[in-house]
Amino acid sequence: MPKLNLAIYWAAACGGCDVAILDLDEKILNVAEAANIVLWPIAMDYKYQDLSLLPKDSIDVCLFNGAVRNSEQKELAEILRERSRVMVAFGSCACFGGIPGLANFSNREGILKRVYKTSPTTVNHEGILPQAETAVPEGTLTLPAFMNRVYTLNQVVDVDYYLPGCPPPPDLIWTAVEAIVSGNLPPKGSVIAGTKSLCDTCQRVKEQKNLKGFVRPHEIIPDPEKCLLEQGLVCCGPATRDGCGHRCIKANMPCRGCFGPTGNIHDQGAKLVSALTSILQATTKEEARQAAETIVDAAGTFYRFGLPDALLQRVKRREQA
């Protein structure tokens, strides 16, 4: 069988997705046997110039991780899309925006000001900010433009498959690799993960308790056997796609939703609001208000990994348009 051409690229990413590929351990050698890696900046020395020499559709699969945050990343997404037959949004940042997507709570100016002007250790009397072009004695130095918001990969280019997780677990990566190598690909648009919700497969004991309010993770030592939500901790399990192996839950910490919403959920945050409010025991508006106040930073919790992909964000965009 001819070797596949594989490209692995990171945009606004943390590198954890690349490490997750290394976490295939000895199977990484099987990947190398089945594929020529034509771009992988963390591990290989191919440059953008090498990439630009590749013809259209010459990359069989591109695993694209990270969100799209600046002009260079957008351009690379476009170049890679044009050259790739199959584009995989790899990891939660590429799929839904991920943690870097929380930046959509603010704008370009707010970020630049805090980072380069008002942080307590920064000394910048001239108020210098990074510029697209800077004249230095020897010539001109250029930088990509920092965009006003964070985009998911499919907001920038067409995506064929989604592999969620922050980072995706090695067993799912291997499932995807096998599907790719064997040519046994699911329908376009498929999410390579579970179909149920995390709660559906969670081993913790659920008793349908009613709550008066919520507690924060540092305020209690939860029982390791019982449902965390029923112990009063906000757990995103009801609105999160299964497939991670309950990694946080097993460490006695509530889920924060990194696998994104299950297929039938339109908006992960909205679903969480309805799930959480349904277990609250509030008969009057006052009780409901008091209970709601026990959830701090609801937006940052319910949209921890998916703000750029959320309904909320779309509303904002339409307003701006």
């Binding site: 954890g16 600046n70 990694r247 940052g300």
Partner: protein
């Protein structure tokens, strides 16, 4: 003026590019290491609940998420003024030793070794971990993969996930270690000690026994003399998890020693318009530009910076390796950039030895691993040694523990000025009369690669608070309540 652009620079974490300007004779006028990216964690963490930070900040870097996780957990201990029980601290340190093992193995074998084992001038299709495996043999290759995987397993066991762990909370840890897990870790730790010793042996055989490489390590273009900074214990020995920050000068004299809350008195950051990454420096003597001069507060952190800043290692075999290294390099502090690789392996041995010690500590399986905070939060500081150097987290909150201000100064940034000088020096030493080849270009990259930079970390800086208005309707579809979020 002609220019050579290396874009992207490769075999590192994150994004970067090098611009080399040539004069009319084709010699290097100046080389710049630019960081083209910014994310902005300082800003978008505002408005978040402080206790969530250990689960948010690891996304600054997926190669050293544990460093951010623990710096954050320590900042929360300080924010809520709660001291974790001794077993929790030991568990954190054990977890952290495993992290160093993963990170140092990944850097040495996957990112750095291709330059030495395969060779700096080898074809780029070979200059990678697969080329290394082809060269050292599948057996050694398998050992490398196995031990990095052990380190990841141990982190996942304690932290829930190897990448982006969840175990750290103000006042302790989320889950105790079972006796069965402990035994498993102990066995893996023993194997890691042997593997670390073998790695030092490989370094000796492949690098130190090769005159070309030794000449390279000692050549002037790979030398630099900045200040060195790192955490030390009560005996001035290297410590990754706790202690005071110690800074030594170019002669090895201590010039500063401070606790986490004092960091703004010692560290400041400079901004240049041609990079998204800031340049941290020592406040005293101050910023004098990107130049190699004792008058300028430019720093070295990371393995060599740490070993330079300390007086030794806290475990016996690592101490021996430390003495051997400085003996060969001609004393302390070392100026050899490429000796970062050697120092990294000395630390690999320390991390493995310390991991074994901790896994055999009777207290490590204690279930007393959490204190619930009672104080009202306001301001917290957390420092750890990331594999790439000293990492500072600083949080300010309101009385509910909601973040109002966040400042993070990461390891790689401390090295940014030094890396720029190293890249410039290497370029000047390697590109002459307009002649350049692939080997020279790669050897310019070797100048920054020694530092194991993580520009993912360095460009963490992203934005905070979205007013959400949630209306709940009753079963008849009538508006019932507006939730105040």
């Amino acid at each position: 003026m002609k220019r050579i652009t290396i874009d992207p620079i490769t075999r590192l974490e994150g994004h970067g590019k090098i611009e080399v300007f040539l004069d009319d004779a084709g010699n290097v006028a100046k080389a710049y290491l630019q960081i083209p990216e910014l994310r902005g964690f300082e800003k978008f963490c505002e408005g978040r609940a402080a206790e969530e930070m250990p689960r948010i900040v690891p996304r600054i870097c997926g190669v050293c998420p544990e460093a951010h996780h623990l710096a954050s957990a320590k900042a929360l201990d300080s924010l809520w003024q709660v001291d974790p029980p001794p077993a929790a601290k030991k568990l954190r340190e054990l977890f952290y030793c495993a992290h160093f093992i993963h990170s140092h193995i990944a850097h040495f074998y996957a990112l750095a070794a291709p330059d030495f084992v395969v060779g700096p001038g080898a074809d780029k299709s070979q200059r990678n971990i697969l080329g290394v495996v082809a060269k050292v043999g599948l057996e050694t290759g398998t050992q490398v993969i196995k031990h990095r995987s052990y380190a990841q397993k141990i982190q996942a066991m304690i932290g829930g996930k190897a990448t982006h762990p969840v175990c750290g909370l103000p006042g302790g840890m989320s889950k105790p270690l079972s006796e069965e897990e402990r035994k498993h870790i102990e066995a893996m730790a023993m194997s890691c000690v042997d593997f670390a010793k073998e790695s030092l042996q490989i370094f000796e055989d492949v690098v130190l026994k090769n005159n070309e490489y030794v000449k390279l390590i000692l050549s002037e273009m790979y030398q630099l003399a900045p200040y060195s900074m790192g955490l030390v214990d009560g005996n001035n020995r290297v410590n990754f998890y706790d202690g005071l920050v110690r800074v030594v000068d170019q002669k090895g004299q201590e010039v500063a020693k401070f606790a986490s809350h004092q960091y703004p008195d010692f560290i400041a950051e400079h901004v240049e318009s041609w990079s998204y990454l800031k340049f941290p420096y020592l406040k005293n003597p101050g910023w004098k530009g990107i130049m190699e001069d004792a008058e300028s507060g430019i720093l070295w952190v990371g393995p060599l910076g740490r070993l330079n800043a300390a007086e030794g290692m806290a475990t016996p075999m690592a101490q021996k390796a430390y003495e051997k290294m400085y003996g060969a390099l001609g004393g302390k502090p070392s100026r050899a950039t490429l000796a970062f690789h050697w120092a990294r392996l000395v630390e690999l041995l320390y991390a493995a030895e310390r991991m074994l010690e901790l896994s055999q500590d009777p207290e490590i399986t204690s279930t007393d691993i959490r204190r619930l905070p009672t104080a009202i939060p306001r301001e917290g500081f957390g420092i750890v040694e990331a594999p790439r150097g000293t990492l500072y987290h600083h949080y300010q909150t309101n009385e509910q523990g909601i973040l109002e201000k966040v400042n993070i100064v990461v390891a790689t940034a401390h090295n940014y000025a030094a890396m720029n000088i190293s890249v410039d020096k290497a370029a000047k030493g390697l590109v002459k009369n307009g002649e350049l080849n692939q080997q020279a270009l790669n050897m310019i990259e070797m100048a920054f690669r020694a530092y194991d930079p993580c520009f993912g970390c360095a460009t963490h800086t992203m934005p905070g608070s979205l007013p959400v208005d949630i209306k709940i309707y009753n079963s008849q579809g009538e508006p019932w309540i507006n939730l105040p979020w």
